[in-house]
């Protein structure tokens, strides 16, 4: 803080700091408070708002737990987001390790490029490409039929499709924190462990993973938050033939706000999701024994 003023001078420093404070206040703190307030009020017709019936209670939150369908979707969303996170970690760890410690020079650059380029395309289009690949006359079915593995096209929709799409959608948010963390590990430590007779699983368990913990935590947090908060990916991929049309919790919130017009319940649901995500972050930080400072790096 003092550093900021020393470098920019009083006027410019105050301007920068002021802007940041205003930004956080108006775009983060106030809307959230407004949401919380709204979530505590009943959904009333306009004339009754502010009237005697407009008292704050936890009724909207209670519905979330009382309504079997909504509670089910909520729990399934949290569980699915956690599953996406785990899958993304499993897929990305070897990739990140390979990029960070094994690949050299042009190969490494090419691989990174191959990972990044698809992400120049927007999330919806990327997901839609999975829709095309997995649809009835899509690429995968054509390949399978071309190879004679199946006669008729398969229905590829369902939980698997959504998982694939989600993992792919957020792969970079997992790969790059992991890559950064693993890349900073002195290769000599890996070789020293190997020289001392350790097997590859042990080298990873005792040397690489402990070193990469902050990166793993960041990757998991980002992936989980994005997966829990997405609307587009499940909406698109659940529409595949064979899909269960199971809804994602964000879709419930969306329809409460925009279809039902029940902003109060919507706000309560949204806030409940936010709180769950924050709890998830703290659990992750606890599990990986990393502090805020490590994560912010």
């Amino acid at each position: 803080m003092a550093e900021l003023f020393r470098r920019l001078g009083a006027v410019a420093g105050a301007l920068v700091l002021g802007t940041v404070i205003l930004w956080v206040l108006f775009l983060v703190v106030l809307p959230q408070l407004f949401m919380v307030d709204m979530s505590l009020r009943p959904h009333l017709p306009v004339p009754e708002q502010g009237g005697p019936a407009d008292v704050r209670s936890l009724a909207n939150y209670a519905t979330l737990f009382a309504n079997d369908a909504h509670r089910g979707i909520f729990l399934r969303t949290i569980f699915s987001a956690a599953l996406v996170t785990v899958l993304a970690l499993v897929v990305c760890y070897p990739v990140a390790y390979y990029l960070a410690q094994v690949a050299r020079g042009p190969t490494a650059a090419l691989l990174v490029l191959g990972l990044v380029v698809p992400f120049w395309v927007n999330e919806i289009l990327r997901t839609f490409s999975w829709f095309l690949i997995l649809s009835r006359n899509g690429l995968l079915n054509q390949v399978l039929m071309g190879l004679g593995l199946t006669e008729a096209p398969l229905n590829m929709g369902g939980v698997g499709a959504v998982m694939v799409g989600m993992v792919y959608a957020y792969i970079l948010f997992m790969v790059f924190p992991l890559y950064n963390a693993i890349e900073s590990l002195d290769r000599n430590q890996i070789e020293a462990a190997r020289d001392l007779g350790a097997s590859w699983p042990r080298i990873h368990a005792r040397v690489v993973v402990p070193h990469a913990k902050p990166g793993i935590a960041v990757g998991c947090i980002m992936t989980f938050m994005l997966a829990a908060g997405t609307v587009a990916v499940p909406q698109l991929l659940e529409a595949l033939p064979g899909g269960t049309n199971a809804r994602w919790f964000t879709q419930v919130i969306y329809s409460l706000f925009f279809d039902g017009g029940d902003w109060n319940s919507g706000a309560a649901y949204a806030f409940a999701l936010l709180v769950s995500c924050v709890i998830f972050i703290f659990v992750m930080m606890r599990v990986f024994r990393v502090g805020i400072a490590d994560v912010a790096k």
């Binding site: 000599n188 070789e191 020293a192 462990a193 020289d195 001392l196 007779g197 350790a198 097997s199 040397v207």
Partner: protein, 362 residues
């Protein structure tokens, strides 16, 4: 228990693409020997160590440890332990866990690991430091943790890559003595890499001097110092004056070299014949100041400077063609006043000088 094994290199070469980092290395290191590789930066020392430890497979030749061919055997299955140039201790583990890591990899139970780590820490004078993190130790202590960690796997050959280079002079000297003691106590073969000739000369049973991927000479410190095999060795191990010329005559085991500074006589162990191009090397401490027209080897020039070094002074003489030769003279009060520019002559006995063939000359 610990016991050393021999290491043999048979025409070992290592090429990285077009670049040959090690060329036709032939070498036999005895079991239980303290053997050093000495050479300037980039001459291929680390590469040789990585070949012996199994991180790289040689592009040519055979490496044997205890007589067994090591081809295709990975670093985790060789009876070697490597101490890295930067130690590569595990910063997130406690000191004792670092030491016991090799045992952990071998599936030794935790209680037994703790006990053995304790013993090893005692061996390297670090008892009671096991619960600390590596980051809480001083440079010399970390050094010793690295040694203990390597010894824990009971290697037959301990490979050390300039392990003392990061320490200050005092600590370095202390650690040299400790390393030597540990080597003698354990009987493990030590293969030690250094670019510091003092380190190599004081610690080693034998030394291999390397230059540009080639082993120039193998021998005891004394033999290498007394009879360097090449001008490179003569100047890299200790200082030497080197004068080039052509052999004009031989008599017994001595020969006369015709140089730009007149004829000079020296020992001729390589049996160079008249007409061969050769280099004469002579140590500064074997040179003396001549007065009058004394017969024998004589180099005339003017005083360039006089460096006071305590017990002796280094007299740098500029010869007629601009070349410099150095004489190390005892500072015993007998020296005349030698101002820069004073004409002087220095001389040396023929048996103090050595004639060496010029590389690439038949």
């Amino acid at each position: 228990m610990l016991a050393g094994q021999s290491v043999t290199l048979e025409r070992v070469s290592m090429a990285f693409g077009d670049f040959v980092a090690v060329r036709n290395a032939d070498l036999h290191i005895e079991a239980g020997e303290f053997f050093s590789f000495l050479g300037p930066s980039g001459c291929g020392k680390t590469t040789i160590l990585r070949l012996i430890s199994g991180f790289n497979e040689p592009t040519g030749g055979v490496i044997r440890i205890g007589g067994a061919d090591m081809a295709g055997i990975g670093p985790n299955r060789r009876p070697t332990a490597l101490i890295f140039q930067n130690l590569a201790l595990f910063p997130l583990m406690k000191v004792w866990e670092n030491v016991a890591f090799g045992l952990e990899a071998r599936g030794v139970a935790r209680a037994e690991r703790r006990r053995r780590a304790g013993e090893l820490l005692e061996l390297v004078a670090l008892e009671g430091q096991g619960e600390k993190l590596v980051s809480a130790l001083s440079g010399g202590q970390r050094q010793r943790v690295a040694i203990a960690r390597a010894l824990a796997v009971e290697p037959a050959v301990l490979l050390l890559d300039e392990p003392l280079s990061a320490l200050d002079l005092k600590l370095r000297q202390k650690m040299r003595a400790e390393l030597r003691t540990i080597q003698q106590k354990t009987g493990v073969t030590f293969v030690y890499i250094t670019h510091d000739q003092g380190e190599a000369l004081t610690m080693s049973d034998r030394i291999a001097v390397m230059s540009h991927g080639r082993i120039e000479q193998v021998g005891t410190a004394d033999a290498i110092y007394r009879a360097p095999a090449s001008a490179f060795v003569a100047t890299f191990v200790g200082e030497s004056n080197v004068l080039a010329g052509r052999v004009i005559g031989t008599s017994g085991d001595e020969a006369i070299l015709e140089t730009a500074h007149g004829s000079l006589a020296g020992r001729n162990p390589h049996g160079l014949d008249a007409g061969a191009r050769a280099q004469l090397v002579v140590r500064p401490e074997r040179c003396r100041l001549l007065d009058g027209d004394a017969p024998g080897n004589r180099l005339a020039g003017t005083v360039e400077r006089l460096d006071f070094e305590g017990a002796f002074v280094s007299l740098v003489v500029r010869l007629d063609d601009g070349a410099e030769v150095t004489a190390q003279l005892a500072n015993d009060g007998s020296l005349p006043r030698l101002k820069p520019g004073t004409p002087v002559a220095i001389g040396f006995a023929a048996e103090a000088a050595l004639l060496l063939p010029v590389a690439g000359d038949g």
